[in-house]
Structure formats: structure tokens, C-alpha cells
């Protein structure tokens, strides 16, 4: 019984360092039309997977934050964690653009080697804390700080801009073209900021839904320019997953050598 519980707990806590897996929030609708007094339900899947939007490993939805068009934070009305995905529901009562975001928790991760053993030992502590608990003959201690944002935007009636503004911490994506205005065959621009300032050199990979059913990934690779911007013209309407990342030396080397900041954004490109 105890063993089973341990297995369950570990299955529910997907390591934020499993960077080979993309994490994503996939809402049922990105743009909805509604009458003024109507409440519109949006149900979203949260999962981590290697294939775009094929649910694989559940990522908890209980910490998802919902930013209302007026900027106020709120929470899903309910959530559920299953074997391969989590689900959360949000009722849209206001007109405008909402942001759904997984809570951003910076996490330390350290590795070291022990004499006579080939395998690397992993630790979920910063370098200082790891050094205090590792064996005396350990060597090659390295550490990183990882920050991942998993986010998406949903719009009810007229789009608004309030939730698009960056908060000024780590890597953030600022849609210059409003997410509700991303359309196939039309140019769209996104901007990346780090600690609130435009950042050059962010690696961006954009993949269309349904990678399981095609032989080539058809990934679009971009790098942000001096203004932190990337320009894209998507060739087909559909749902997309964007992954952006940048690695920087950490300000406090005693805790981590580098800071890895990532963003997973899902969005749709509408029909022309």
C-alpha cells in the first residue's frame, strides 16, 4: 500500500527538469462569442508530452491561475488530475482576454559525481544545500535554476490587452500581435522580455498540432532579435505550441551556475 502511494505521488509530480517533455495548457476554445449575460465554459487540458497535444503525463492543474480581462487573478472553478492529463474549468463572465497560467515556481537542480561511480547524482536543492549533504568524495558539482511558464490566452468577444503586459520577472512573452488576431498567412509578431527588458537570442520553436500524424516535425525555429522580437507567418490555421528558452549565467554562482527560463505557449492561428 505504502509503495503504491509513493508511486502515485511520484507520478503526479512531473519533474520540471524533464525538459524533453513539453508542457501545455490546451483550452477547448480560444475565441468565443457570447451575449452580455451569458456565462461561457472553457475546459482545458494540462499535460506534458513529446507529441504536440497528445496527452501523456498529467501536470497538476490545481495551481493554475486565471487572469481576468480586468487584470484580477482568479482560479479555475474546478480541476481534476487523471492518469495522463489534468483538466480545469473556467467560466468566462467578462468580455475580453483572459490568461491561463501555471504558477511559476523557480526550482533549483544540482548534479554531482561520486568517485568510482559513473552515474551522475541528481539533487533538487541548490548548490550550497547540495554541497552540505553530498558525500565528501563527491566532485563536479553543477547547479541550475529553472523557471518555466506554461500559458495560454482565451478571448470572449472583443479582445483586450491588460493580461498581455509582462510582470517583469525572468523570461516573458509579450504578444505584439494580439493572440486573437493570429491568422494563417498573415504576419504576426511576438516579443520576449527578460526581467522586463527586451531580450535578444531567445530560441523559439513553434509546432503545429498533430505531430503524431506526420513524418516530419515541421518545426519553425526562430531567434529573437535585438528588440526581443520574432516575426512569423504561419502557413496553416490550427492550434500551435510554442516553446521559448534562454540560458543565462546565474547572478549568485554559489546557488546555481545558470538560470534556464522557458515558456510554453499554446495559441491558435485562425482561418483567413
Amino acid at each position: 500500500m505504502k509503495l503504491r502511494l509513493v508511486a502515485l505521488v511520484s507520478a503526479l509530480c512531473i519533474s520540471p527538469f524533464a525538459s524533453s517533455h513539453d508542457r501545455w495548457i490546451l483550452p477547448s476554445h480560444y475565441n468565443v462569442s457570447a451575449e452580455s449575460n451569458e456565462a461561457v465554459w472553457i475546459t482545458s487540458d494540462v499535460s506534458a508530452s513529446n507529441q504536440v497535444f497528445m496527452v501523456d503525463k498529467p501536470v497538476t492543474a490545481s495551481d493554475v491561475k486565471v487572469y481576468l480581462p480586468d487584470g484580477k487573478p482568479s482560479s479555475p472553478s474546478s480541476s481534476y488530475t487523471g492518469g495522463r492529463k489534468s483538466v480545469f474549468d473556467v467560466q468566462l463572465l467578462q468580455d475580453g482576454t483572459y490568461k491561463f497560467e501555471k504558477e511559476v515556481t523557480p526550482r533549483y537542480f544540482s548534479v554531482y559525481k561520486v568517485k568510482g561511480k559513473e552515474e551522475v547524482v541528481r539533487s533538487r536543492l541548490d548548490k550550497k544545500a547540495t554541497a552540505a549533504v553530498m558525500p565528501k568524495d563527491a566532485y563536479e558539482l553543477k547547479g541550475s535554476l529553472t523557471v518555466a511558464r506554461v500559458e495560454t490566452y482565451v478571448t470572449r468577444n472583443k479582445p483586450t490587452d491588460k493580461v498581455l503586459a509582462p510582470k517583469g520577472e525572468y523570461l516573458e512573452l509579450v504578444p505584439i500581435t494580439h493572440p486573437a488576431d493570429i491568422v494563417e498567412n498573415e504576419p504576426a509578431t511576438l516579443q520576449f522580455v527578460y526581467d522586463g527588458k527586451p531580450v535578444e537570442g531567445v530560441s523559439v520553436a513553434i509546432m503545429k498540432d498533430g505531430s503524431l500524424y506526420r513524418n516530419k516535425p515541421e518545426e519553425i525555429s526562430l531567434t529573437s532579435d535585438k528588440e526581443g522580437k520574432v516575426a512569423m507567418t504561419l502557413p496553416a490555421a490550427g492550434r500551435y505550441l510554442l516553446h521559448a528558452s534562454i540560458e543565462r549565467p546565474s547572478p549568485d554562482k554559489s546557488l546555481a551556475d545558470k538560470t534556464v527560463s522557458e515558456i510554453f505557449l499554446t495559441f491558435e492561428a485562425g482561418l483567413e
Binding site: 468565443v32 451569458e38 485562425g270
Partner: protein
């Protein structure tokens, strides 16, 4: 006798004005084809005009199911360009869906606010979306500074042949 004279004069004046001072207008002759395959629901239709920058200047027709706004978003381009902006405007211009048939839409070349358009290039869009059916978006660009013109758009699955005429522009 006097009344008769007045009426004759009035009719005469009307006749003259329509010939010499024809009001500039655009006519869109739209056919919704008979579709017998599969489940048939009357289509949602939007006819509107955008300027060269893609900004909507006028919605000419909006034929939708009258129960709620849920499906408005499915008229994808019209929703993005015009519909989502103002729900009371949408309620003001919406009318019921139409069966297959021939429809004539006249436009006085004024924008949504009732102001005459400045002479420039514009595009008229016709978007037809059918539940359990397809979607077609057809367009025709025209120049208000270039005088009268007419064009014929070939039929698509959801639209029959469309005739577009700009008249009364020649001075």
C-alpha cells in the same frame, strides 16, 4: 386636376433624377445554392467591406440564427474584423438566416456611421458558413475613385455566382 398635375410632376422629377443624378451605389447579387448533400442548415452569411488596411468600414448584411451569439464566432473573418467589436451593433444589424435563393443587396457607399466613404480602394467580402457544411470566403477589390465597374465571382460550394456592380459613379 391639380392633384393629378402634382403627381405627374413628382413622378417626372423622380424619373429625371434617377437618370441624370443617379445615386452612387453598389449592388451585390448573391445566390445561395441548393445543397442536397448531407444535413442542410441555412447558412450564416456576412457581407461586409474593408478598407485597404483591412479595417472594416461597413457590414452590409448579417444573416444568422437568432438564438444567442454562440455561433457568431464561426463566421471567422467577419467576427474578427467586425462582429466582436460591439455586441449592440451586431444585434442592430443581424437578421434571420435565408433559404437557398437569389438575394440582392444594395449599398449606398456609406460606412457604419452613415458617412460617405472617401474615394479609395476597398474590398467587399462575402463569407458563408454552414453548420455541418462548409465555409467559403470570397472577395472583390474595387476602387471608388475609378468610376463604375462590375465583376462576377465564380461559384464556390457555398456560394453561387455573385455579381457585383458599382454604378452612378460616372460624372
Amino acid at each position: 386636376m391639380m392633384r393629378h398635375l402634382i403627381r405627374t410632376t413628382a413622378i417626372g422629377a423622380l424619373f429625371v433624377s434617377s437618370v441624370v443624378f443617379a445615386t452612387p451605389k453598389m449592388t451585390v447579387d448573391l445566390t445561395l445554392p441548393e445543397i442536397t448533400e448531407g444535413q442542410y442548415h441555412r447558412p450564416y452569411v456576412a457581407v461586409w467591406v474593408e478598407d485597404a488596411k483591412g479595417q472594416t468600414v461597413k457590414t452590409l448584411s448579417l444573416w444568422v440564427w437568432d438564438e444567442g451569439h454562440k455561433w457568431l464566432k464561426d463566421i471567422r473573418r467577419w467576427w474578427r474584423k467586425a462582429g466582436r467589436e460591439d455586441m449592440s451593433f451586431v444585434d442592430g444589424i443581424a437578421s434571420a438566416t435565408r433559404p437557398a435563393g437569389h438575394y440582392k443587396i444594395d449599398w449606398d457607399l456609406k460606412d457604419d456611421a452613415g458617412k460617405p466613404l472617401v474615394p479609395a480602394s476597398y474590398t467587399v467580402f462575402i463569407e458563408v458558413v454552414r453548420e455541418h457544411g462548409g465555409r467559403d470566403l470570397v472577395r472583390q477589390t474595387f476602387d471608388l475613385a475609378a468610376g463604375d465597374f462590375s465583376a462576377q465571382l465564380p461559384a464556390t460550394t457555398e456560394t453561387g455566382v455573385i455579381d457585383i456592380r458599382l454604378s452612378g459613379m460616372t460624372r
